[in-house]
Amino acid sequence: MIDGAGTMSSAPRDSARTTGLVFNIQRYSLHDGPGIRSTVFLKGCPLACAWCHNPESIAPAREFIVAESRCIACGECREACPYGAATPGTGPIPSRNADCDFCAQCADACPTGARELIGRQMSVAEVRDELLKDAIFFAESGGGVTVSGGEPLMQWQFVEELLPALRERGIHTALDTSGYAPLERLLTVAARSDLVLYDLKGFDEARHIEYTGVSNASIHANLRALDAAHANIWIRVPIVPGFIDDAEDLSRMAALVSTLHHVTRVSLLPFHGAAERKYERLGRVNRTSHVDPPTAEQMERSAQIFRAHSLPVHIGA
């Protein structure tokens, strides 16, 4: 089992019992590796990137979100909640309640699905079976499964068991990581993945700290070590106007990547504003609420910088 901080106890290795905190399994995922894929998103991330498009992935614990637009104010959540009567006000109860122990009866009672519990403890076997549902599409398209987050290495023991459980069924696996984790965890999990999607979010350390909350020194060091150990790495760089779009900075990232030997693709991912509503529902501050997606020309200019270093760059995934 994992606790709220996303670390695992050393329970016996049993796929029916080891669980992960999953916040979504996305089928027909087209931008997380080759072919048609299913991506399992694990909850919890040590970074808090300003442009995060999955803000519900950051907290390493379950949380409720309420889609206000779907709430019909019927008050059934209040009736179902053990603390409902004691909660001040009338009608729908707030999405965060100090006494809440995540019994989820409020979400169950919500007729419209406006109130949703984000994050579900799932066993390796449960997750594997859900992912195997699309095996025929993986086989047809050369696709497979991508483990993403959050930062999947926060739940490294779960991932370490999940990946072999998929590979023994012939499923291609990919790990999508920020690289911000102890090196041995990264290498252990990467060894169980056919592909590593490695995110780089700017070269300048000060700005990296400002935008993501952490230094990129270990991220760069881990990348070099990974390159020595793994044969298939895709570098992924989000292009976020005003945050990651500086030509000089992109060029230094490109220079770093060009020293590596096992990078088979560099993907430049255009920022999109689709997460705006998620921030509202989570009650989080969105630092990119006024950022427009990069233009096609801007993406092309960025791509040129990487091409200048003879890197196999793709716009989009």
Binding site: Q26, R27, Y28, S29, L30, H31, G35, I36, T39, I72, C74, E76, D108, A109, P111, T112, G113, K133, D134, I136, F137, E140, S141, G143, G316, A317
Partner: protein
């Protein structure tokens, strides 16, 4: 497009559809003079000859392929012998807001003074309605089913390769041989066969006469033509019309013109459903294409131009409008001719060729409403053809649709066809399988499954009228299990299905005896060999279909009943309370409606609980219908397709336990309820493939993609794999709308700026702005699969 075809295309698009009374008046003249003087088949053939001799013929500026059904492009004739428009019908058609047909005073006067006077009470529709029993009329009026043959004749068929090796004079020799072989001593039907064969012979002659008139007109025009190039073209047209259809075609041009004369003949003789269809056009044309390139008489560009002229001919022919129309009702100009691209050859190898790609280029370039096109994708079909088709589809014009050619063969083998006939077959109309040139595969009507369930929840009473229409299968309060509810549904289902089938048998016998189709019989094996008309069972294969509608809506409703009324939960509800809420259309019970909509298992999410119910419903259709005999010596089969009936049926059906409010559209085809599928396209495909589609004669699955999903090479590759995967799972058909809901809303708001927006409806494509408001909303509400 060339300058010529660009001009012809614009003329076709800009010409307003109109009604022409010419055919109706000619036919009335003929019947007044000749009815009762001949056997029925011979009378029909002579009436067809009369039309071919006397109808106005048309040869437009710049045309290379010639011939129109009406006196000019987009002038639509009427068929009073099948059903006779009232003057009021004509006025409504003239003035209604969408899918109108201009009917001038002269046309309306001709109807009032000549046509209606003769045909009122004599048309097939009048005769059919007069003899069908009251229970048939009651169920029909309640919206339990529709009936195809009250509006148009049995048709639903497609031509094979027979005309490319034989002229009408050759067919007349075949007919003469059959006549000579008749045994008047021991065959009790020999006299009937003689009359049928005589009618076939007259029909062959009529088409030759029709072509000769075009040859003469072309020569007349050539004599007056100043421009030497055009004069040469007109002479060439005259020579082509001299040659075909009397003789087998020798060139690409002759082959196309020959088919076109056959097409016009079939749709002039009668107004059969789905017009007519050249089938595997690319396969049929390939020998002419290769020969023309080899002997220097054809180039790729000139072949393409001829094909473009040919496509424009289809677009010049809007579907004949229905009778008994209302101003509110919209129809479609589409007449369902559906060209097959790719597919299999008789030896099982891929039929895709260079002409297949030319056809796709034309679809991409011309954006015509008609003809419809589909790609028959076998595991043997090269990826290049699929990639080409998807690139065209990604432009968002709703063409082509994609079929699983291997499943199409398997479905037909199950029906007992030979493997060669099955491979030479394909799909027509919306999604229907058939052995081209050898089968009468008749769609008999749509069947409203959710309405049947509504009656099962009301002890056989239609809550809309209060009438006891079905058997008393129990009040809602009396059901103690979900199985008991399903048993009541099944009993109601059988009851209404059998009413429908008894009605079909009456109608089919009336067509057999009163309304034979001699020319269509010449084109359909084995009518000539057997001496039996198409409408009497002369075809080699005779399958009848009932098209079931509302699979998703019914699955989700039965799933909701199971989850809410027969499963232990804190929200458990008595079925009688649920029915009371339905009767009130959920008034004052929005939370309940929301829970039904959002918190019960839904078909289309790869959820076994919901999908098993869908499978039960489908299997019930198969078990109750498949293999029942029809009156032509063939059998009934299941089809899952709605065209636009899911909107009509929805308007006749009250609130349902899946949370759908009264009068709203039902789900379409085998697609999930609009918006109920939440696990992406692979989830939908997995769900849909749990049904054993091979036991159907066609299923229809629609998906809506945002353009961003397929806007690059990798997106298109993954899309191709998605299609291939569905077909590995024995899916029959899949079709995509690549257009965002936002773009559709914009088109609704500003129709004048989006007149050319074509969308996939449910089995066919249509101008979005011509669709009824309800259908527009339904398409907007479909789940939109985005990129992730």
């Amino acid at each position: 497009m060339t300058q010529r075809t660009d001009l012809l295309r614009r003329q076709s698009l800009d010409t307003p559809p109109s009604l022409s009374a010419e055919r109706a008046v000619l036919l009335t003249d003929f019947y007044e003079a000749q009815a009762g003087r001949h056997s029925v088949p011979v009378l029909r053939a002579l009436s067809f000859l009369h039309l071919c001799q006397h109808k106005s013929i048309y040869l437009g500026e710049g045309e290379l392929i010639v011939g129109e059904r009406g006196p000019k492009p987009k002038a639509v004739p009427t068929y009073p012998e099948l059903n006779c428009h009232s003057a009021e019908d004509l006025r409504i058609l003239n003035s209604r807001e969408k899918t109108w047909y201009r009917a001038d005073d002269e046309c309306i006067r001709a109807y009032e003074e000549r046509v209606i006077r003769y045909w009122h009470g004599r048309s097939m529709r009048d005769l059919i309605f007069a003899v069908l029993p009251p229970e048939w009329h009651d169920a029909y009026a309640a919206g339990m089913y529709t009936e195809f043959m009250e509006q148009r004749a049995p048709g639903h068929t497609v031509l094979d390769d027979k005309i490319y090796g034989k002229g009408m004079l050759d067919f007349r020799q075949d007919i003469a041989r059959s006549l000579a072989a008749l045994d008047f001593l021991t065959d009790p039907l020999a006299v009937d066969k003689r009359e049928a064969l005589r009618s076939f012979d007259i029909a062959c002659d009529a088409v030759i006469v029709f072509a000769q008139r075009h040859a003469a007109l072309a020569r007349e025009r050539a004599a007056a033509e100043q421009d030497a190039t055009r004069r040469g073209e007109l002479h060439a047209i005259a020579e082509v019309c001299d040659r075909v259809p009397a003789h087998a075609p020798r060139t690409f041009h002759e082959a196309l013109q020959y088919y076109w004369f056959c097409h016009l003949a079939v749709i002039t003789e009668l107004n059969g459903w789905d017009a007519f269809n050249p089938g595997h056009l690319d396969q049929h044309l390939l020998p002419f294409y290769e020969r023309g390139l080899a002997d220097g008489t054809l180039t790729r560009a000139s072949a393409r131009e001829l094909l473009e002229c040919f496509f424009i001919k289809f677009n010049n022919h809007p579907a004949p409008p229905k009778v008994g129309v209302t101003a509110a009702e919209s129809g479609t100009y589409t007449d369902f001719a559906n060209i097959n691209i790719g597919g299999l050859l008789k030896d099982g190898s891929s039929g895709a060729n260079e002409v297949s790609h030319i056809l796709l280029e034309i679809v991409d370039d011309m954006h015509l409403l008609q003809p419809s096109t589909n790609v028959q994708l076998s595991r043997r079909t090269p990826d290049a053809l699929l990639a080409h088709a998807l690139r065209v589809l990604s432009k968002g014009y709703g063409f082509p649709s994609i079929f699983n050619a291997d499943a199409v063969v398997e479905e037909q083998l199950r029906q007992g066809k030979s493997v060669e006939d099955a491979r030479a077959g394909g799909c027509s109309g919306c999604v229907e399988v058939g052995a081209f040139g050898k089968e009468a595969y008749i769609l008999t009507g749509y069947f409203n499954m959710p309405k049947v369930f509504e009656l099962a929840l009301h002890n056989g009473v239609d809550p809309r009228s209060g009438k006891q229409l079905g058997p008393r299968t129990g009040e809602a309060a009396s059901f103690t299990s979900w199985e008991a509810v399903f048993a009541a549904y099944r009993a109601q289902f059988r009851h209404f299905l059998e009413i429908k089938l008894r009605g079909n048998h009456v109608i089919e016998r009336m067509y057999a005896t009163l309304m034979p189709a001699p020319f269509l019989s010449v084109l359909t094996d084995d009518c000539v060999a057997r001496g039996v008309d198409y409408n009497s069972g002369g075809a080699r294969y005779n399958n009848n279909y009932v098209q079931f509608v509302g699979l998703g809506s019914l699955s989700d409703s039965l799933s909701a009943v199971q989850a809410m009324c027969f499963t232990d939960s804190s929200h458990r509800l008595a079925l009688s309370d649920l029915v009371a809420a339905l009767d009130a259309d959920f008034a004052g019970q929005e939370p309940l409606r929301q829970r039904l909509s959002h918190k019960t298992p839904k078909y289309g999410n790869d959820n076994d609980d919901a999908d098993e119910i869908m499978v039960r419903i489908f299997n019930t259709c198969v078990e109750e219908l498949d293999g029942r005999p029809n009156v032509k010596g063939g059998h009934y089969r299941v089809e899952m397709l709605p065209t636009t009936s899911h909107v009509y049926f929805g308007s006749m059906t009250g609130a349902m336990p899946d949370g759908r409010q009264a009068r709203r559209p039902l789900s379409e085809g085998i697609s999930p309820v609009q918006g109920a599928d939440r696990h992406g396209p692979t989830g939908v495909i997995k769900s849909a493939s749990k049904m054993d589609q091979v036991k159907s004669g066609g299923t229809l699955l629609n998906m809506k993609f945002t353009p961003s999903l397929v806007n690059d090479g990798e997106g298109v590759d993954k899309w191709a794999h998605l299609v291939r995967s569905y077909f590995k799972l024995d899916g029959h058909h899949i079709q995509f709308n690549v257009v965002s809901a936002a773009a559709l809303r914009e088109a609704r708001a500003q129709p004048s700026e989006h007149r050319d927006l074509i969308v996939r409806v449910a089995g066919y494509s249509d101008y979005f702005c011509d669709l009824s408001d309800a259908l527009q909303e339904e398409i907007i509400a479909r789940t939109e699969h985005e990129g992730f």
